[in-house]
Symmetry: D2
Subunit: 342 residues, 4 copies
Amino acid sequence: MIKCAIIGATGFTGMELIKILVRHPGVRITHLTTRQDTPIPVRNLIPVLPPGIDLEIVPYSFTDVKKNADVVFVCLPHTEAAETVKEFRRANKIVIDLSADFRLKGLKEYERWYKVEHPCPELVKEAVYGLPELYREKIKQADLIANPGCYPTGVILALAPLLKNKLIERDSMIVDAASGVSGAGKKLDPATQFIELEENYLAYKVNKHQHMPEMREVLETYSGAGISLTFVPHLLPVKRGILATIYLQRRKNVSARKIEAALKAAYDKEPFVRLRPEGNFPALRDVQGTNYCDIGFTTDPQSDRVILVTAIDNLLKGASGQAVQNMNIRMEFAEDEGLKLW
Amino acid sequence: MIKCAIIGATGFTGMELIKILVRHPGVRITHLTTRQDTPIPVRNLIPVLPPGIDLEIVPYSFTDVKKNADVVFVCLPHTEAAETVKEFRRANKIVIDLSADFRLKGLKEYERWYKVEHPCPELVKEAVYGLPELYREKIKQADLIANPGCYPTGVILALAPLLKNKLIERDSMIVDAASGVSGAGKKLDPATQFIELEENYLAYKVNKHQHMPEMREVLETYSGAGISLTFVPHLLPVKRGILATIYLQRRKNVSARKIEAALKAAYDKEPFVRLRPEGNFPALRDVQGTNYCDIGFTTDPQSDRVILVTAIDNLLKGASGQAVQNMNIRMEFAEDEGLKLW
Amino acid sequence: MIKCAIIGATGFTGMELIKILVRHPGVRITHLTTRQDTPIPVRNLIPVLPPGIDLEIVPYSFTDVKKNADVVFVCLPHTEAAETVKEFRRANKIVIDLSADFRLKGLKEYERWYKVEHPCPELVKEAVYGLPELYREKIKQADLIANPGCYPTGVILALAPLLKNKLIERDSMIVDAASGVSGAGKKLDPATQFIELEENYLAYKVNKHQHMPEMREVLETYSGAGISLTFVPHLLPVKRGILATIYLQRRKNVSARKIEAALKAAYDKEPFVRLRPEGNFPALRDVQGTNYCDIGFTTDPQSDRVILVTAIDNLLKGASGQAVQNMNIRMEFAEDEGLKLW
Amino acid sequence: MIKCAIIGATGFTGMELIKILVRHPGVRITHLTTRQDTPIPVRNLIPVLPPGIDLEIVPYSFTDVKKNADVVFVCLPHTEAAETVKEFRRANKIVIDLSADFRLKGLKEYERWYKVEHPCPELVKEAVYGLPELYREKIKQADLIANPGCYPTGVILALAPLLKNKLIERDSMIVDAASGVSGAGKKLDPATQFIELEENYLAYKVNKHQHMPEMREVLETYSGAGISLTFVPHLLPVKRGILATIYLQRRKNVSARKIEAALKAAYDKEPFVRLRPEGNFPALRDVQGTNYCDIGFTTDPQSDRVILVTAIDNLLKGASGQAVQNMNIRMEFAEDEGLKLW
């Protein structure tokens, strides 16, 4: 039995991890921690859990967690997570960090977007980007896994095979994405009150979202050169899920068949990527509550454009589901253990 | 007092017209008709209306309507509207057609998208496209006004000034739009049931929507040459409103200031277009229940792209509000008479 | 032109008042105030308003408001409103208070439910309960109008005629009510976040809601003796509207006809109460966006029970609409001036 | 491995059964049938299911199903189910019927409410009412299990212990319930369109719902005499879940402690009933996606009333979850096998 700790267990990603891990047959949750002062019974926070589950979320103590955890999931806010990650890496724990703190290799980009100097640059090199479909072999060896952001997960999965196979123009990437409100986290905010969001829809952080450098950095390893990326996220009046519609210019003589072949070659054997036949597109509800990334595509001969639609559950494949997928790979469980969700 | 008839008054656009016209000080509703067999009291259909309003929607009779109407609003489905429009034009009535039947000048395009030969091509030439901000002078004289489609309204208003001033590349237009469910009309459909749509979001008719030729035809009069347009509409779990995010390539040396200047020149004096300062974007709720089209924009120096966001209420500026605006222009009322909605 | 001030204009009831009063032909808004430090353009707060409306909400200054207002709407939280009301009454202004501070005649009940001693008991006697259908004559003379609570409005309108005519048992009143989230006010609260409320429904303050003494006090003036009232409010995943389902024991030999007759006698000429025929019940959407209170009823011969359903828009008939209705009565406007809303 | 068939697998209860049974370790689904003409891959209907699941829903053939099924779940509409149940009982299959056809022992009540003569009265006697918490011993032996209705499940569980222990007045039962829209089934209906239901709330079938005789018949076995029951269901703008608020008159000298003791005695060891401490009430979201029935209560000393709130997921504890719970009991699986849902 692997012993797991969740640091920052009261947020949405922490709660989702709890829901998955209490049912994972190879795992025992040994610690759930919070920055608050008083313990919180897990069942108060997640009332759908069965009465038998008597776990408590307790005030954080590094010493306590250290004693009895093999894997530590860090679910703290960006820029706060790094210090905690460092502590646990020093104590030689396997860390899966759900924050953005170790996703970017470029320290300057990190500073630019998160407005702080990186607190432990030495660990950045060690960190492996936890997108299993692209980095599975590295994840198997990694002791620090930087779990991808929600928007980047779907977008990178759709684009990497096309860039790698040189099917699309590097300077043509436009991503129009829409996310459910859980992506904004649990913090109280007028914009995520029911009265503000119900019946509403809006673009936000237009071409200024902090997930842009993450997408760019990973995608450039596939394009082999600089890419131009336009990214406009939107806020949906739904709880969970991200649907991204991606517009690309295809390179000369690239047929729909080639696009499909590249995607198939990349994902045909992947347990959590489901490719649609050309012209068939996923809806949010096809992936909500699951760890799947669904991808559909079509081509427009008139404009030489390729249109892709990808859908994920932002809290699962876009966060906690993917974190467990990473843990499964690292700890040699079946990759879908605990993730047969529907 | 102008006498108005609404043909097809039980659909969403008909209902919305009723709500506006019962309060319009210069208008009397003389006929509300339906293809159904039995009369329907308006207040059963629209329970928020006050008890004093005793109008009935009655089975359609051309002869009855003809006797006592100056302006006829036709709210019938595409391909069914044309014959009715023809009848009323022969009887010399002023017709405002909310269907798609007289929007396209190109008869072949009409046939291609609506799968029928146009039933009265001779009237197509007479019809004036009812987008007041662009065709006000023609509307003043028109006896047949083709009220624009919901998606085209917001998109054309955003793009026409930029094309006209040659600020953007003709082959670079990508429109990602999201509509509330009233855009689909009142017909029962599994896709618009609550259980299917709540918490859902999806792309539909990807690059195949029947509003594409309408946008293209109008925009090409501004570009002076062929344009390339990619259009992906999405269905939102909201009742009303369309938000379109538009991605364009700007031409060489075109600054944000020039974009702003072109939009300002076009709309500064318009009562129903509200321009935002650069980097400020409208949300759906800013326009719901109003006849406004709100437009925001920004530029991305890195990719030389322009991003525009436009928002309208699809049933008002995208349909019935615009129809009344057209009537006001044609009948020489103040243009915002009956349209001070919020 | 009557000069109106709104104290506390940034909350939901203040905003709703603004939307009504800017269109009211007999009124000019002279002051909109907030407890915040910096002025807020009204159109930032209510983006649907037309560009022409340049009102600002400014930091509160008694002296400023006093100089130039005939009617003062006080939209402050309970227990904070009373002092402000007192100031304006001393300055001889007509005050319409939307808080709970002057609704209860019983000072002990006030203390018991609001946990503070009443700050100006001398004004309590002067205050008239602003339910026009029951207290119109007094409202005409009143200088301090205590605008009713949202739940009490619908419930009292349904029950008063039945109690007055001795048709129902005084000890049998059960009110099961469900409210949209705007009833909770604008304060940030985890319970009213989208993620918490969407797809949810719950009972709250079960038989402990602060509107209970208000209902009881008014209803006892009609029963002439103590009543027993059970009241369970529920929170709905909707923005606005209250629907209350009321269960009563009828007195011996009371037929459905008698119930109907009593309701008809009370409301047949009322502009804002709409009675349904027996067995026909209002839905929330029938009244949303209007100042109506819709009432339906039926009887159950087997159990001798009467079931009533009443629906209002909590921000209109349940707050700001009713406040304007009161102002119209007091200032001798037509009672529905500014309130033809739909 | 138990072989299971689902007759009528395309409806909401059929789909929910599929989702549970594909994960049930003791069960193999051998047949999924529909009244439609063409086969439907299960994954088209339920896209969240994993790619490995290749089940098809095929046109119904009694002969085929008969050959290879131990347990037959009948998910057909009321009055259509009975004939199919009869066929399978004749073929000696264990039948779990999710329709209303075998819930009522009183044939006259059946006729009165369902407007048809019962097609196989001889089987009515054999049928066991499938509410495990009350009828577990009988269910163990039953070959025809009449799975309870959604509203009756929560209401009967709350009331049976109180009636049995003579704590409440038999003539005082008022049930105010609110259901998500899935309770209405999959049939297209204007009332369940998104545009009609979003932001709406309404009472329907006021004191005329067909679940009333089912509640009354079961509850009278506990009261030992006639009861008076008032029942008003409401439609919520949510997908799933039922919350019922129940108002009762307690008998003389019945304390809150006695109420609590009776409920505890009944449910303390039940895996799927969760009792709250006095004054603590469940919300819909506490049970959505689970097989739990949560019950909260309080007493009102002033009026001698007891208030109960019960919450279930109408498709799980109110239908398919309970059906599997019944199968588990009958086939000697652990009672919660396949039902650890959250």
